[in-house]
């Protein structure tokens, strides 16, 4: 909430000056926060960078990319980052919905470790396991379970294999 209150105005101002709409500002801001969060949990951020300036930097790249202006100036690293931001394919959506319903606990556990980058001790605490070891065992069990589901479902949704 704080981050939204302090940083959304900065990005909204930038996007409005370039002729973007409120909804475009919202989408770009939210995508920028996602990328910022991912860098943050991976400890890849230079601590001297100020949060707002960083978000504005990402937002600018996203805006430029959206309109394909000046695209030669985006460096490869940044461009690579942004391609990952591509929306999941429709069939991936289907699979995500399925996994959310059928195996939410596993998905949340896997998310905590692989996406939020919590360490095993933190995962164990958050999910009520007795220790790192049992949380690790559970993590691999979940990974296997989800992998098998993906495999099974993918065979029924043929197009999933890109």
């Amino acid at each position: 909430m704080e981050l939204y209150k302090t940083s959304f105005p900065v990005i909204a101002k930038y996007i409005s000056r370039r002729g973007g709409s409120f909804d475009e500002a919202k989408d770009i801001f939210q995508d920028a926060v996602v990328l910022y969060y991912e860098k943050l949990v991976e400890n890849k951020l230079n601590l001297q960078v100020n949060e707002q300036a960083y978000l504005l930097g990402i937002a600018r790249h996203l805006w430029i990319r959206k309109y394909n202006l000046n695209s030669r100036n985006i460096d490869i690293d940044e461009a690579g980052q942004l391609t990952e931001q591509e929306e999941p394919l429709p069939l991936t959506h289907k699979l995500l919905d399925f996994l959310e319903n059928a195996g939410q606990k596993c998905m949340d556990l896997l998310k905590a470790f692989y996406y939020d980058k919590l360490n095993m001790g933190e995962v164990a605490q958050q999910f009520g396991y007795s220790g790192e070891r049992s949380a690790t065992v559970q993590k691999y069990k979940c990974l296997e379970k989800v992998r098998d589901t993906v495999k099974q479902k993918a065979l029924t949704y043929e197009d999933f294999l890109e």
Partner: protein, 85 residues
């Protein structure tokens, strides 16, 4: 479970060099293992997309609060004014 871990170490480059050689040899010989590597890769991608989906849902909830609740009215008006020209 051992295989799952080996695949993970392989995909994340966490295996030591000796194990890497062994694993790569197995990969050539075992097409079932190759398939599992592919599915596991997909699984990590899905977990990432799941994480993004959840994070975006949280952001959207904050957005809705800021632009719908009375207590944030002046903030919302200030932002909307930027787009009214």
């Amino acid at each position: 479970m051992n295989e799952i871990k080996q695949i993970e170490d392989h995909l994340f480059n966490q295996a030591d060099p000796q194990d890497t050689v062994l694993f790569e040899a197995k990969l050539i010989l075992d097409s079932g293992l190759q398939e599992n590597v592919t599915w596991q890769q997909k699984t990590y991608t899905l977990v990432k997309q799941y994480g993004r989906k959840k994070l975006k849902a949280e952001l959207e909830a904050v957005h809705q609060q800021l632009f719908a609740l009375k207590e944030h009215r002046s903030f919302a008006q200030k932002i909307r004014a930027l787009f009214s020209r």
